[in-house]
């Protein structure tokens, strides 16, 4: 068998697999709608503000309602020592200013 035939067959299999995964993604999105609605209702009824992604520190468990200078909240030189602190950006924005 020619080398190019093997290569094109490999690319074709890869493209078909890739397309199948994209179809899987679309299907899974439709199937998860019910679950997302249920989670949305839970958030609404419990009045939750955050997702439960990192439970190790309070400012990574609830980044939306964390103190403004989260990483330095314990004292001015307290550098962030939680690994998830490097994934969660500190809250910007805010209305508390004059």
């Amino acid at each position: 068998m020619r080398n190019s035939t093997i290569f094109f067959a490999f690319v074709a299999v890869g493209v078909i697999l890739f397309a199948t995964l994209m179809l899987h993604s679309q299907r899974a999105l439709l199937q998860s709608e019910k679950m997302l609605v249920a989670n949305g209702n839970l958030v609404g009824s419990l009045r939750l503000t955050d997702l439960c992604l990192f439970t190790e520190a309070r400012y990574t468990r609830h980044p939306a309602v964390a103190d403004v200078h989260s990483a330095f909240q314990d004292h001015p030189m307290a550098l962030d020592h939680f690994p998830s602190g490097s994934l969660v950006t500190p809250p910007r924005f805010r209305n508390e200013g004059p």
């Binding site: 697999l17 995964l21 997302l36 989670n39 503000t49 992604l53 190790e56 980044p63 309602v65 209305n95």
Partner: protein, 378 residues
């Protein structure tokens, strides 16, 4: 047309044989290249799916949460603040939220303790998240012990466990009756952790927030749009670990490109010289190098992206788990909904496949334009 295709196939055949002659070097290159694409694609898939899910789940979050700040830190908010806020025109509902944290010394995990007005548990009963049930091996009907503020043990019965599907929102929750909550933490009456505010007209939320700050200067309103923005900026590319991953990937590509752009090996130069001397045109040599580059970069792209999809959506991004878990004992187990951003994939394709393919062509063009005799002798 057939002749044109056959020419390409012949050159592709030759390019693949040429790659196979330097099997060790090219296979290791392919593996590293695939790994780089895999890492970048995994990060992109994970972040996009998480942001997609956060936006959908948190769209039902409170319109506004009002905290009280004392010396720059959040403090308990008196019920009187709620009355003042409720009197502002446009506010339809103010609900005190009672919540806090509890460190469970038995397993070393932190729980989020809270009360619920609607569908909450009966007194002396709790509803727990699936993560709490997992780490404490609890089921409905079991008794869970808590150490109260005064050191006494408080026994609360598990009324129900929240479903597995809710882990992304409620894995570490312990929901209890208000009386139990106040008793457990000696939480002052007529005070709350913060206030959830509902505004009649969504376009007036920021106006209401400004009025709250004017009336209660120590209050800090957090709008729903800001909550959503927090999760939109989570895993921001400027964030610590993300920028390290992206910088590593970028450096790897620079090394690949540098390796290719700084020239060909003596063996490759000799090969080009021989090809030219037996009648190959410069365009044929460039086509040969184009096929070599395409074979490597396209194979790496397809393999890397497919593996990344499986890693993130079938194996719950298990390679990122140590970083995501951090020091946490209670870690939510959730399977992300596979939301894929076609735009990001297209960018990844253009950033990985095209630069590599073109950097293989440039030095070959320089080698192919010199005299074949000189190329072979060099």
């Amino acid at each position: 047309m057939n002749r044109y295709l056959e020419r390409h196939r012949n050159i592709a055949d030759f390019a693949l044989s040429s790659l196979m002659r330097r099997k060790g070097k090219n296979i290791s290159l392919l593996l590293v290249y695939t790994l780089v694409v895999f890492i970048i694609a995994s990060v992109l898939f994970f972040i996009h799916a998480l942001k997609h899910e956060a936006a959908l789940i948190l769209k039902d979050a409170p319109d506004m949460v009002v905290q009280r700040l004392v010396a720059g830190r959040q403090d308990l908010i008196p019920a009187g603040y709620g009355d003042k806020i409720a009197s502002i025109r446009g506010v339809s509902e103010v609900t005190p939220r009672l919540w806090g944290y509890y460190f469970d010394a038995a397993v070393g995990a932190n729980y989020t303790m809270m009360t619920a007005e609607l569908q909450g548990p009966e007194p002396e009963k709790i509803i727990i998240g699936n993560g709490v049930a997992r780490v404490r091996r609890l089921a409905a009907g079991d008794i869970m012990t808590f150490r109260a503020y005064d050191g006494k043990t408080s026994l609360l019965q598990v009324q129900s466990v929240l479903p597995y599907e809710s882990e992304i929102a409620a894995s570490d929750l312990v929901i209890m009756h208000e009386a139990d909550f106040r008793l457990l933490f000696n939480f002052p009456a007529k005070e709350a952790t913060d206030l959830a505010v509902k505004v009649r007209n969504p376009s007036e939320i920021s106006t209401v927030a400004a009025k709250i700050v004017k009336q209660l200067p120590d209050a800090r309103p957090i709008l729903k749009s800001e909550i959503l923005r927090t999760y939109d900026s989570i895993f921001d590319w400027r964030g610590g670990m993300i920028i390290v991953i992206l910088a590593m990937a970028l450096l790897s590509f620079i090394i690949f490109a540098w390796d290719k752009a700084t020239g060909l090996s003596a063996e490759e130069r000799k090969e080009i010289g021989i090809l030219k001397s037996i009648g190959w045109e410069t365009a044929d040599v460039l086509l040969l190098k184009f096929w070599e580059g395409t074979a490597i970069s396209l194979s790496a792209f397809l393999s890397g992206v497919i593996l990344a999809y499986g890693h993130v959506f079938f194996f719950s991004a298990s390679l990122f788990e140590p970083a995501l878990k951090g020091w946490a004992v209670l870690y939510p187990e959730f399977r992300l909904t596979p939301a894929v951003d076609a735009y990001q994939l297209a960018v990844l394709f253009f950033l990985t496949v095209l630069p590599y393919t073109f950097t293989t062509i440039i030095p070959s063009w320089r080698a192919a334009t010199v005299d074949p005799d000189a190329a072979m002798r060099s």
